[in-house]
Symmetry: C2
Subunit: 314 residues, 2 copies
């Protein structure tokens, strides 16, 4: 398998750093007091398009040469990867073709259009998404950019931890959410290369726990009827990401949506920043397991800030 | 009248800088594109207690000597000044006595208690607040710290613009909300001392426009039946602040709550930060008057981030 290495992540960072924001690392005495840990929040909600997804999409698009880009890029996504790919394509002056389910939130459709992406709607099933995308690829000759299970995408997501460790070099652990696994896999490559002692932990909703199950059984398990408020984490764990996670990650811990909502509210009220539910799963895992994190310096990746203000969970 | 000068603001900054956060200045390309101005948002929502009010309360409390502090400090406030004074008193290890109307939001009561403040409840009328406070002052011998119309408080609020101009030294204008007027008055002293050419503009809700009326009529007008979603701006313009504003401020512009809600939503969605409605009034004024701000570098003070997530205006 074509797995990315730390060297790919270094290349990715050089490739994308002119396009991405160096996002701030924030701390909160109130939250440290509640958890007993010393938490360094890496604020990818302030990244372009409001999510870390821009790192991976940007690296994948900027790694293509002019000829490869001529027919555009394509993906299927109802989430942040769609907007991320649209913006990355716009920056390279090529066309992004995005397959989205008809029932995708209006705000996500608007974001794609605002970056010049072309949307093709399909039925809201994985099969319809894949078939529609296949047609688009055949018709246009566009390059497929996978939302999470592709070497360049994983390498791009790994730049987030690289930047975090540059900003705070004495972390004992890093916690990231895990859905498709691109962020967790990329983070694990970076963290273990820089410091093999650093714990790398995945945080996953109980209602969409295929990564935790796969991790425990050492076998990639299917994602059956995932159901969680953390809409960015409904996707199934990718193949490449599974391999990287098994190799590098120390644990994957699940948490109920009730704790995720509590964590999201803490971040909103105490830190005055907007994060989406998927971002709050990492803090939720720490709240559920205070003893394990007590006294440790913990990096927590706040993965994104795109939330429908009309439908808040509190 | 005992009006503060720039020298008082410099003294205030030296007095409080070890206690306050240097809050960040954020920009948003999306909002710049919408307004046509170049806006530098001074994020006092990230200040301690979540509002600029901590600067003034802190300066007033830290300006007192041990003897003056022995019997504590007192105020009446249902808003951010109450929490600010409670924290400032805690830092000086003295007691804060806060008179609050019974119907004050739970979240504001909790904040005061969490900083060790003692609350005395009263009927929700200005008369009841003043009478109750008078009793507390007589019983305890505490020092009164006014929410906005007191020299040390105004000087403390003036440190916000001082810090902003240190962070961004080429502003053409600064816009702040105006309620009691402490922030606008303090800002105007700082801005006009450093650069008399810099425009200083107050932003006020149409439904609570006593400052705009007073400014136009060159006479302090009463605040009758104020009604606005910007709950921090319901207070009447103070006497000292009126004098300073007449002397220093270039204009006070009013805006309807509908634009304030639009501005608040823009800040939440585009900048991923939480601001309270009172903070959004400044951006609302810019949205209403794009021609006047076009191409200018404008400092906008985001005054606070304490908002009841259960009762959002959108």
């Amino acid at each position: 398998m074509n797995l990315p290495t730390f060297s790919d992540i270094e290349d990715a960072y050089l490739r994308i750093e002119a396009q991405t924001h160096i996002t701030p690392v924030l701390t909160s005495r109130a939250i440290d007091k509640i958890t007993g840990a010393e938490i360094f929040f890496k604020c990818e909600n302030f990244q372009k398009v409001g999510a870390f997804k821009f790192r991976g999409a940007c690296n994948a698009v900027f790694a293509l040469n002019a000829e490869e880009l001529a027919s555009g890029v394509a993906t299927h996504s109802s989430g942040n990867h769609a907007a991320a790919l649209a913006l990355a394509a716009q920056l390279r002056q090529t066309q992004a073709h995005i397959v989205m389910p008809q029932n995708a939130p209006e705000i996500k459709k608007k974001a794609v259009v605002s970056y010049g992406g072309l949307i093709t709607f399909c039925e809201p099933t994985l099969q319809a998404r894949e078939e529609t995308l296949q047609k688009i690829l055949e018709q246009t000759g566009a390059q497929m950019i996978h939302p999470y299970d592709q070497k360049e995408v994983i390498a791009g997501q790994g730049t987030c931890a690289l930047e975090l460790i540059q900003q705070q070099d004495d972390l004992d652990a890093i916690v990231t959410p895990v859905g498709g696994g691109g962020l967790l896999a990329g983070t694990s490559i970076t963290a273990k290369y820089i410091n093999p002692e650093m714990e790398v932990i995945g945080a996953e909703p109980q209602g969409a726990d295929d990564a935790a199950q796969s991790f425990q059984k050492k076998q990639r398990m299917p994602s059956l009827h995932p159901n969680t408020i953390a809409d960015g984490l409904l996707t199934a764990l990718g193949k490449l990401n599974y391999e990287l996670i098994i190799k590098n990650v120390d644990d994957i811990i699940t948490t109920p949506d009730s704790t995720t909502i509590e964590a999201m509210r803490l971040i909103w009220e105490r830190m005055k920043i907007i994060v989406e539910p998927s971002s709050a799963v990492s803090l939720a895992v720490i709240l559920d397991n205070k003893e394990a994190f007590k006294g440790k310096k913990v990096g927590v990746v706040l993965s994104g800030g795109n939330v429908d203000l009309q439908h808040l969970p509190f």
